[in-house]
């Protein structure tokens, strides 16, 4: 086995650290609203074709339209910014639930009222890149420039630069570019743990707050689930398990949401029921990701001598 293997397959192993959340909480719960509508693929934005990912078009039956607008798809995204966002906003603000928004730069620019409402609600707006596209193939120089535009877009619409980052469909360069750009407390482009962890790959220590694509309403569009009740069941089970484990070692839970998905009337009750379930428990820290990051930086600072990741290390 080579000693240069760059992945860490051990992590915290059988003995995760005590997270030491504020108030002795057993679980830190981070709700995330992905704000993407108006930044998806369309010829209107200079793309080759229409969007196909994470809408209600169905899993794969309808190919993207090349060189043309897809009015059905566009209208499904419009539903998210027009109706879904405000429904979720009412639900969360009425219960005073803190939230992190993964805000796509171009989407925020197209809905300044939405951005203003996020700021007024005290929500964190992390950056979710400038466009909602697959960055996998983008040349490095272009992606670097897009990161800067994404930061500026959040700053201009929300009034404060983002301290968190989530690209989603990353390129091999994304994390390095984010570290080089600087000014971030954390990124969430990882699914590798139940707790924050430090990454040392790109020079200075960089904090990762892992995210979830299974505690995530995107499953409504990938055909895994249909009912709000099934969504509730899944995230309740995740909460219950981490809460039980949290009696010994406290954990973190992320729930990913989308305006155009859980924001539909047939689904929103799945989220509302989950909030009821959580409210029936003590020792839950419902919080924004930036607060989790600030806590981790203060209580679990990076190693002075970063571990060298080796096979079997």
């Amino acid at each position: 086995m080579t000693s240069e293997y760059p992945r860490d397959l051990f992590g915290y192993g059988p003995t995760p650290p005590a997270a030491d959340w504020p108030g002795g909480a057993r679980i830190a719960l981070s709700l995330v609203l992905n704000y993407e509508e108006g930044a998806e693929n369309t010829v209107l934005h200079g793309d080759a074709g229409s969007e196909q990912f994470l809408a209600d078009i169905g899993p794969a039956q309808i190919e993207p339209l090349v060189g043309m607008r897809a009015y059905n798809t566009e209208s499904m995204f419009e539903y998210g910014s027009r109706a879904g966002f405000w429904r979720i906003h009412r639900l969360l603000t009425s219960r005073q639930i803190p939230l992190t928004v993964y805000g796509v730069g171009m989407a925020l620019e197209r809905n300044p009222q939405g951005a203003k409402a996020m700021a007024e609600a005290g929500w964190e707006v992390a950056s979710h890149a400038y466009r909602w596209i697959n960055y996998g193939d983008m040349p490095e120089a272009e992606e670097r420039e897009q990161i800067q535009r994404a930061i500026a877009a959040v700053e201009n619409t929300v009034g404060e630069r983002p301290v968190g980052w989530y690209c989603g469909r990353v390129s091999p360069n994304t994390r390095r570019l984010v570290v080089e750009e600087g000014g971030f407390l954390y990124d969430s482009d990882s699914y590798a743990d139940d707790l924050p962890y430090w990454n040392y790959e790109h020079g200075r220590p960089h904090l990762i707050l892992p995210y979830s694509l299974d505690n995530n309403d995107l499953r409504f569009s990938t055909n895994n689930i249909f009912t709000g009740e099934d969504f509730f069941d899944y995230i309740r089970d995740a909460f219950d398990l981490l809460y039980a484990e949290g009696a010994e070692t406290s954990k973190m839970m992320s729930v990913g949401l989308h305006c155009r998905l859980v924001g539909r009337p047939g689904r929103i009750n799945g989220l509302a029921r989950f909030l009821d379930h959580v409210a029936a428990h003590d020792d839950v820290w419902i919080t924004r990701r930036r607060d989790i990051a600030a806590h981790w930086i203060a209580t679990h600072p990076p190693a002075i001598h970063p571990p060298k990741v080796e096979a079997g290390a």
């Binding site: 860490d8 996998g136 079997g312």
Partner: protein
């Protein structure tokens, strides 16, 4: 017709009396597939990133050709870093034995996990040297991988495997396993509820059939989302076989993956299924090698 190489009859309407230890009505085999760190990746010399059996979703995101897919990699890392340890704790506390389908390269990259398997008394069977589709691999390379897998298990676990499961097997796999020798059984078959003898390759070879429906891979292929649904499916399988077991004792395999059932939203299904099992008498919790040894002793091959 006489040359047709498949057996469409098997035990037919009258399966043999399995005669499990203590008159058990059912033999339960839990299998943990230990694959993380051996999946397709340019880091491992492959042409593209992994796409199979993870939480990327069914179809939308294609594999990355010639590059790393850091999202997919981190999902596999979750399995090794978190999911494995969660499962180990669940099975250890329930005192239920496990067979690991261990991929050679994955065990080499997770020596702490390999040591924890030994400490827990789990069986580690061979699951290929790589977690790849062996239909695309030449016979010579596959033969070398069989022997590399045996070596990797011997060196990380301290004992060579006596069981085999390729998964995405080639047309050569079973013959190569029989030729290699030293195995009590392989599980590359889905064709029965009981072990059976195969004579395709000279000497009699025991097949202990596996299951891809009593299997958490359905979480990744889109067949199931909630832990409640997965539990209900496993429970129904068990209840059917347990009822049939009053007349003809059966065997049930449950396939698990660190990165799938090991996630918080899913592990509850396993806890509930273990509770369900422990409410029943006459259940034999066994490693596959024990089932194979039992079959060799009580149902030896005969013409």
């Amino acid at each position: 017709m006489s040359e047709y190489p498949r057996d469409m009859m098997g035990y037919g309407p009258t399966p043999p009396e399995a005669d499990w230890p203590n008159g058990a009505r059912i033999a339960i085999s839990f299998v943990i597939n230990h694959e993380e760190g051996a999946e397709s990746s340019i880091l491992h010399g492959d042409a593209q990133s992994e796409r199979y059996l993870c939480d990327l979703g069914p179809v939308e995101v294609p594999p990355v050709v010639g590059g790393r897919d850091l999202n997919a990699e981190s999902m596999f890392e979750y399995g090794a870093r978190v999911g494995f340890w969660r499962l180990r704790r669940i099975f250890t506390e329930a005192q239920v034995p496990v067979t690991v389908y261990g991929v050679g390269m994955a065990l080499e990259r997770t020596p702490e996990a390999a040591a924890a398997m030994v400490e827990a008394g789990w069986e580690v069977a061979g699951h290929g040297y790589r977690w790849i589709d062996y239909r695309d691999v030449s016979e010579d390379v596959e033969r070398a991988h069989v022997s590399q897998c045996i070596d990797a298990i011997a060196s990380t676990v301290g004992e060579r495997p006596v069981g085999w499961f390729s998964g995405r097997r080639s047309i050569h796999t079973r013959r190569l396993i029989v030729e290699e020798g030293g195995f009590l059984y392989d599980s590359d078959g889905y064709s029965d509820d009981l072990p059976y003898w195969n004579t395709d390759h000279g000497r009699p070879h025991l097949v202990v059939p596996y299951s891809r429906n009593n299997n958490d891979l359905r979480f990744a292929t889109g067949g199931v989302y909630t832990a409640g649904d997965f539990f209900a499916y496993l429970r129904d399988s068990f209840d059917t076989l347990y009822a049939e077991g009053a007349d003809y004792p059966k065997m049930m395999s449950i396939g698990l993956h660190n990165r799938l059932i090991g996630r918080p939203g899913r592990a509850g299904a396993l806890l509930r299924f273990l509770d369900h099992l422990q409410k029943h008498d006459g259940v034999w919790f066994a490693r596959r090698r024990e089932i194979a040894e039992h079959w060799h002793a009580h149902h030896p091959y005969s013409d």
